[in-house]
């Protein structure tokens, strides 16, 4: 459409929206900023009604989601009789913010780990509702407000767990990276998350060269900002986290260790193992004084046991002689 329309009127519910400007063109439609009843909204007109309806179905499902991460909330769903035919649209709140990779690059390196925690919390909620995000990339995440909070938009890739991911971007796609299929599961989103974090920390997306794992590790090692998180990122890349919660837990521990390096030992770069990653890194390390006490106790126990055994042996010998 060359010029934005002036007014969009709903065919079924009759609400009228005055178009202010075009906000952007996403997968499957154009988003306008509109005003209705003295309030501003974002209105998405779909390229085809089927795809848009499928997106609306997911949005409806997520309306009651809780947590720190915000997403679009639906206000109206209707059809518009446009000059070029009937077009479906939905109306949501206006989300203002900076794309997450720009935010991190320009002002928020410190905030990167926190934003990641917010994202993982949101993903965990989404997965528990039976959906994966699918087309997870920095362009679909905004940072808003102060203190910064993460906001997501574009539900076009959201797919029920167990099905083939609806929409994806090759740079963050497990299939393209030859690290698995495109079946929607939590591991799929966490794989995309690992590449997205790398993108945010480096300021540019990572492109696949030769061996996928080598490319990933090489790029990670070139990024000092991510040094504390190497193990977690590698585990996510390899699909070792069964849930976003497990990854969030490890991410938090890594963050903590980075903040208080004196108090805890830094975990060595872990090798692929068969135990679950969260269990391995969350095992509590006892404090120094406590460890000494245990050592002394062990020595005493050993002494008592050995003297008891030698006494027994002596008694046996005496018995034999007699």
């Amino acid at each position: 459409m060359p010029n934005p329309p002036l007014v969009i009127r709903g065919k079924w519910r009759g609400k009228e929206y005055r178009v202010l400007r075009e906000l952007g063109r996403g997968t499957g439609g154009i988003v306008y900023e509109v005003s209705h009843a003295q309030r501003n909204f974002a209105l998405k007109v779909g390229h085809d009604s089927f795809t848009l309806t499928s997106e609306i179905n997911v949005l409806k499902l997520l309306q009651k989601a809780e947590g720190t991460v915000l997403g679009p909330s639906l206000y109206d769903v209707d059809d518009w009789v446009s000059p070029s035919g009937v077009r479906s649209f939905y109306v949501m709140n206006v989300i203002k913010g900076v794309p997450v990779h720009h935010y991190v690059r320009n002002q928020g390196e410190e905030w990167l780990p926190v934003l990641v925690m917010q994202l993982l919390g949101f993903l965990d909620q989404l997965h528990k509702r039976g959906y994966v995000f699918g087309d997870l990339k920095p362009e679909h995440l905004l940072v808003t407000g102060s203190p910064p909070r993460l906001v997501w938009f574009d539900a076009g890739g959201m797919t029920p767990i167990g099905r083939a991911v609806k929409e994806y971007t090759e740079l963050y796609d497990r299939g393209y990276w030859q690290m698995g299929d495109r079946r929607a599961n939590p591991e799929y989103d966490l794989f995309s998350t690992s590449l997205m974090i790398l993108h945010m920390a480096q300021g540019k997306p990572v492109t696949l060269q030769q061996d996928p794992l080598t490319t990933f590790i090489h790029q990670m090692e070139r990024t000092p900002l991510l040094t504390p998180y190497r193990t977690v990122l590698k585990n996510a890349f390899l699909g070792r986290y069964p849930s976003a919660q497990a990854m969030k837990k490890d991410w938090f521990i890594a963050w903590q260790k980075d903040r208080f390096p004196g108090k805890t030992r830094r975990a060595p770069f872990s090798q692929p193992g068969n135990t679950s990653p969260s269990r391995r890194t969350t095992a509590n390390k006892p404090k120094k004084g406590w460890r000494l006490l245990v050592k002394v106790f062990k020595i005493i126990l050993f002494l008592i046991l050995s003297s008891f055994l030698s006494l027994l042996a002596a008694l046996y010998l005496i018995y034999q002689v007699l």
Partner: protein, 244 residues
């Protein structure tokens, strides 16, 4: 209905046909057998030109399918997208037909009020995820395709990956044209796998003309020949007839 099979022919070419009958003819016949014909045209230094692009569009229209004209680097993404879009499109068409049947003329998915439409969309999505799919892949290997075969292999590998992530079963048959003795050469019978893919293309040396029409005709008669008999019994139900 969920046990039915969707059937498609996927034609990948970089040029205009220059031998035999017009390809849209065979595509129209395919459509009569509920086989959708999708066409992907590759742009990079090929002989596609204006005529080629028009032909790509014409074949897909006749075959009730989707067409895309892309550069080789976008082939992977396009091939899987076109295949999946065509699947939902076919199911939508059937549902539309049923709706008009039940609710009268002009009652299509798009004309339903949003709440009802959202339920129909769910049904269509369920079907396209769970229905069996048969794709006959027909690749142009005329001389100009030489530099693009790598991209084609990559794209087909990716297609297998994407479709393999569905719940429903997939079967593929792989053909190239021109063949040595005939218009098209069959590399692989119906199979759930595409392992023969690499082998088929490694032995290939792209050469010869572009007999798109005759190649489509040959592939089509193979496909129709392997259809279950009862498909012809009732025209109306054909698309969703199961193998029962």
């Amino acid at each position: 209905m969920s046990t039915g099979t969707l059937r498609q022919i996927l034609l990948i070419t970089d040029g205009c046909s220059n031998e035999g009958r017009e390809p849209a003819l065979a595509a129209a016949v395919a459509r009569e057998h509920n086989i959708t014909v999708n066409v992907i045209g590759i742009l990079d230094h090929g002989e596609l030109g204006e005529h080629g692009i028009e032909e790509v569009e014409r074949i897909a229209q006749a075959g009730g399918g989707i067409h895309q004209v892309v550069y080789a680097r976008d082939l992977s993404k396009t091939v899987q997208m076109v295949t999946r879009q065509a699947m939902t499109q076919t199911i939508q068409q059937v549902v539309n037909k049923e709706l008009t049947h039940i609710l009268g003329p002009e009652q299509m998915i798009d004309a339903l009020p949003p709440e009802k439409r959202s339920k129909v969309v769910e049904v269509v999505e369920n079907l396209s995820e769970t229905m069996a799919l048969e794709v006959l892949i027909l690749v142009d290997t005329s001389a100009s395709m030489k530099s693009k075969i790598g991209a084609v292999v990559q794209a087909l590998r990716d297609l297998k990956l994407s479709l393999g992530s569905r719940i429903g079963e997939n079967r593929f048959s792989l053909w190239t044209f021109p063949g040595r003795k005939s218009a098209a050469h069959k590399h692989m019978d119906w199979s759930t796998d595409l392992t023969a893919l690499e082998r088929a293309f490694s032995r290939l040396s792209p050469q010869g003309t572009t007999p798109t029409g005759p190649a489509l005709e040959e592939a089509l008669s193979y496909m129709v020949g392997s259809l279950p008999e009862n498909l012809f019994a009732d025209d109306d139900e054909g698309m969703f007839t199961s193998y029962a």
